[in-house]
Amino acid sequence: MSRSGLRLKDVGYRYPGSDSTVFDSLDFSIAAGEFVALVGGSGVGKSTVLRCVAGLISPSSGTIDGPAQTDKGTRQSAVVFQDTRLLPWRRLDANVSYGLTGLGLSRAERDARVEEVLDLVGMASYGQRWPHEISGGQAQRVGLARALAVRPKILLMDEPFSAVDALTRSRLQDELLAIWTRLNMAVLFVTHDIAEAAYLAERVCVMRGSPARIVLDEAVPVDYPREREDSTLQRFAQRIADAL
């Protein structure tokens, strides 16, 4: 499991130069190809966990074992940010190829990747546009494409759909599930939206407290494809709500 997935052991994080401990001994793992949602209230440290996994910050204690050796032209993980973080001075295709430099790919291979992932997120004809010319939902798709372009073993998503309108959100959720089914990658999906976590993930982990702990870690008892109104799903969502 830990060989191709991800394992956090006794991971703690304290803000540098401060006594406030966000979490001090977090244990959980994600199997290869597994879709895990990490749920918790705001400020509980979900995004901090994601940043630790992404290598953007170092945990104060404990170890994180990521997927072993990555193949040529890929990265272990890739992040999708809530604020999309498209670089405004790059056209969309150049934004998508941002993570592809330094991976030993030829120009032609990079272009092919960009085309492939833009197509995958339904933005095929938008490569030459500027970020300010597209909507928030479209920007989120391009942010997803940028992450998918590096063919990550684990896709890290930090509340990716919380800034878009409800209709766009449910459409993006369904598209994400379709993409996840097609590609062989694990997903760590951080959200505060219980219904979203229950609808998307195979397994839901709930973070709570200060310092925070995983207070619930359960498989979602409904197979894909799911109905949003499924009563089993809604009962499960209620269990998450109670744990929060």
Binding site: A54, G55, L56, R75, A78, V79, F81, D83, R85, L87, P88, W89, R90, R91, Y98, G99, T101, G102, L103, W130, P131, H132, R146, V150
Partner: protein, 270 residues
């Protein structure tokens, strides 16, 4: 708007027409302003509003232009001034950019120089003329040196504040996507992110350099400033006006040229 909803083409045409009219009106008024100024100038000349002989006849300016050109003074003066301008602007911009970038990206450098910068900054470029003469004698280098000082500060502040204002979230993105190294971070985030501020600093410098140019040349280096000075010495104020207008024209051209470059580089902006 609601009343004309049925015919969508007509209002669009109307709007275009009224915008065209507004532009024409603006141009006509602008030209009238210039004409009015020339009339006032002529009146001042005729009725001696200033000490006799110090206001040239506006209608004599074209002839003075011709005389300066024919006498072989105008073009060499412009050429010489351009040498000071290009060198002063180039050196001041390059150094201002480099030091500003360093100040905003290296903490130790910021700490070690901020007080010094605060002391030197308020000294007007022209105050350095004394040292320019002492160090470079009366030479092209001296004039370029004085020009470069003003340009340096403009670019130093524009670059430093532009770099400091780059959204730190972009640096996190760079690290997440394999651009965490210094060179990659600077080229993919810092410079494009600070480009609007850096370019507007350069553009301000393009103007600022002209402002100090003439004064720097008054120290006796060949150029438009010196020609103005010697023309004024023999009471040829119409020739002075010729050089003033030449400065205005060249500035407009260089600023327009740089605006094209700037717009091209920043076409990603909404």
């Amino acid at each position: 708007m609601a009343a004309t909803h049925g015919t969508s083409a007509a209002p669009a045409q109307d709007r275009q027409l009224s915008r065209g009219l507004a532009r024409t009106r603006r141009i006509v008024l602008g030209l009238s302003g210039v004409a009015l100024f020339i009339v006032l100038w002529k009146l001042a000349y005729v009725f001696n509003w200033a000490p006799r002989g110090t206001i040239p006849d506006p209608f004599a300016v074209p002839a003075a232009l011709w005389a300066e050109y024919n006498g072989g003074r105008l073009l060499p003066a412009i050429g010489s001034s351009l040498i000071h301008y290009v060198w002063g602007l180039g050196v001041g911009t390059a150094l201002g950019f480099a030091v500003g970038l360093l100040a905003a990206s290296a903490r130790w450098f910021d700490d070690i120089h901020y007080m010094l910068a605060r002391i030197l900054r308020p000294i007007p470029p022209l105050a350095w003329v004394v040292f320019a003469i002492a160090w470079f004698q009366v030479s092209h280098a001296g004039a370029a040196f004085v020009i470069s000082i003003g340009v340096f500060w403009v670019n130093y502040f524009a670059t430093a504040s532009g770099v400091r204002d780059v959204d730190p979230r972009y640096y996190e993105l760079a690290r997440a996507f394999g651009h965490g190294g210094f060179i990659k971070r600077v080229t993919s985030i810092t410079l494009p992110g600070a480009a609007p501020s850096i370019l507007s600093g350069i553009r301000t410098g393009v103007g600022q350099a002209w402002m100090t140019l003439i004064a720097a040349e008054l120290l006796g280096v060949p150029g438009m400033g010196q020609e103005m000075n010697s023309a004024a010495g023999v009471g040829a104020y119409d020739a002075v006006v010729v050089y003033m207008l030449a400065i205005s024209l060249i500035y407009t051209l260089s600023d327009g040229l740089f605006a094209l470059v700037e717009n091209r580089a920043l076409r990603w902006r909404p």
